[in-house]
């Protein structure tokens, strides 16, 4: 993990762990307290919270359609790059995390106020 003023970069997965237009669920943080969904969409990597804002289903069990993730339970869609809720039953946006790739490893920046 690498610290910044914004939080900590967490080593999340190897780039080879995610197929194109797919999603992978990972647990980050010292206790695995951050449930994060990693995406590879048209060659770009993204990260969002892994729990749907509607009824907490795991989005990493869902389906990537174009640049959206569809919840596996009620099929609400979120725009992955922005986290925006696209259609009912989801109405609350999804948290997104900054992502960087270094030496084929995906890092996710998670805010950590205690780290400031």
């Amino acid at each position: 993990m690498i610290g910044t003023k914004l939080g900590r970069w967490h080593r999340a997965a190897a780039t080879s762990n995610i197929e194109d237009d797919d999603v992978l669920g990972v647990l980050l943080g010292d206790q695995g307290e951050h449930e994060v969904a990693l995406y590879k969409i048209q060659g770009n990597f993204y990260a969002t919270a892994d729990r749907c804002t509607h009824q907490t289903a795991r989005l990493s069990d869902g389906l990537v359609i174009d640049d959206c993730i569809e919840c596996p339970l009620h099929q609400g869609r979120f725009h992955v790059p922005t986290g925006k809720a696209k259609n009912a039953p989801v109405s609350i946006d999804l948290k997104t995390y900054p992502v960087k790739v270094e030496q084929d490893v995906i890092y996710v920046l998670i805010e950590d106020t205690q780290f400031d």
């Binding site: 797919d22 509607h54 009824q55 907490t56 289903a57 795991r58 069990d61 869902g62 389906l63 359609i65 569809e70 596996p72 339970l73 009620h74 099929q75 609400g76 869609r77 696209k86 259609n87 009912a88 039953p89 109405s91 609350i92």
Partner: protein, 315 residues
């Protein structure tokens, strides 16, 4: 959420995610083909009504036309899930069209139905629990008549238009969406009022003859199909036991957008209707299947009513 975790865990044990992903692929053309076929059938039954006007045949013609209008529940259901089409806007447009004809507020149905999927057959939580056990013949007949559905839906439609949200709805609709429910009900009533005014202005009974009357009497067909989905199945959140697939002929399957594969649909609601027959082949030994068709399911239910009636005397 216990019910949700159980559903996911059962699904993961039954079928690898890679298979599900393959089955879950969406497209636009299959839904459009199904929709074109369905509206073609509805146009034919509407024509039957037209040529029966002024004869005794108008009665069966209106029932048949109403039954076909009732099958619009299927695309409404599939679009409420968002799985009918790959393109979201097309999906929403068809949801609106079907909801208007079917007289079901679209987002109300979507939220109500989503909750049903979370709490399928969980008593006091399942928003669409058709007939909890024990069922009686009287309850069954009342449900199949469709009267309960009209009472409920019209009360929500007019209630929402007046800005009222029923306390029961707070269970399944998020509060930030109440304005959307209210706006949709008002738009629907405005469209219906416009149709009514135009019909009166032209002295036409067409909306009543080709839509309202058949729609009211045809609802019982939709209920008759829907009773088979869960009634008599186990209560609780196990999708292998709480939902029934009813094997039937391909005409019914197409009209109902493969909804007869209902256990598969509940097992994995993100698999679109056109992939359900393939999914059925992969899981048919693990879910509840009635192979005798809808009549057989209803005959079994009648047997249960009879047993229920005799049960107290046997004690």
């Amino acid at each position: 959420m216990k019910e949700l975790d159980e559903l996911v865990s059962v699904r993961e044990q039954m079928i690898p995610r890679a298979n599900l992903k393959r089955l879950a692929k969406r497209n636009n053309y299959t839904g459009l083909l199904f929709l074109a076929f369905q509206f073609g059938v509805i146009a034919c039954t509407g024509w039957l009504v037209y040529i029966s006007l002024g004869t005794i045949w108008i009665i069966p013609a209106i029932f048949v036309h109403g039954a076909m209008l009732a099958t619009l529940f299927a695309p409404m259901h599939e679009t409420a899930h968002g799985t009918a089409f790959r393109t979201l806007r097309l999906n929403e447009a068809v949801l609106w069209l079907c909801s208007l004809i079917y007289i079901f507020p679209p987002y109300w149905f979507r939220y109500h139905h989503a909750f049903h999927h979370t709490y399928t057959q969980v008593r006091r939580l399942d928003s669409a629990m058709v007939l909890p056990k024990p069922i009686t013949l009287k309850e069954y007949l009342f449900y199949v008549s469709g009267l309960m559905v009209w009472k409920r839906n019209l009360s929500y439609l007019f209630g929402h238009a007046l800005g009222r949200i029923d306390p029961a709805e707070r269970l399944y609709a998020p509060e930030d969406q109440f304005p959307v429910l209210i706006r949709q009900a008002r738009i629907m009533l405005l469209i219906y009022a416009t149709v009514g005014i135009v019909a009166v202005a032209y002295g036409s009974w067409a909306p009543v003859i080709y839509w309202l009357l058949p729609r009211v009497v045809g609802e019982s067909y939709a209920r008759w199909i829907r009773v088979a989905e869960h009634t008599g199945c186990a209560e609780g959140s196990d999708p292998r036991a709480n939902t029934r697939t009813t094997l039937t002929n391909s005409f019914i399957r197409i009209l109902w957008w493969n909804m007869p594969y209902h256990a598969e649909h509940h097992l994995c609601a993100y698999i679109p209707f056109h992939a359900l027959p393939k999914f059925h082949l992969q899981v048919r030994d693990k879910v509840t299947v009635s192979s005798g068709g809808y009549f057989s399911v209803h005959v079994d239910l009648f047997r249960k009513f009879i047993r229920l009636r005799h049960a107290p005397r046997a004690q």
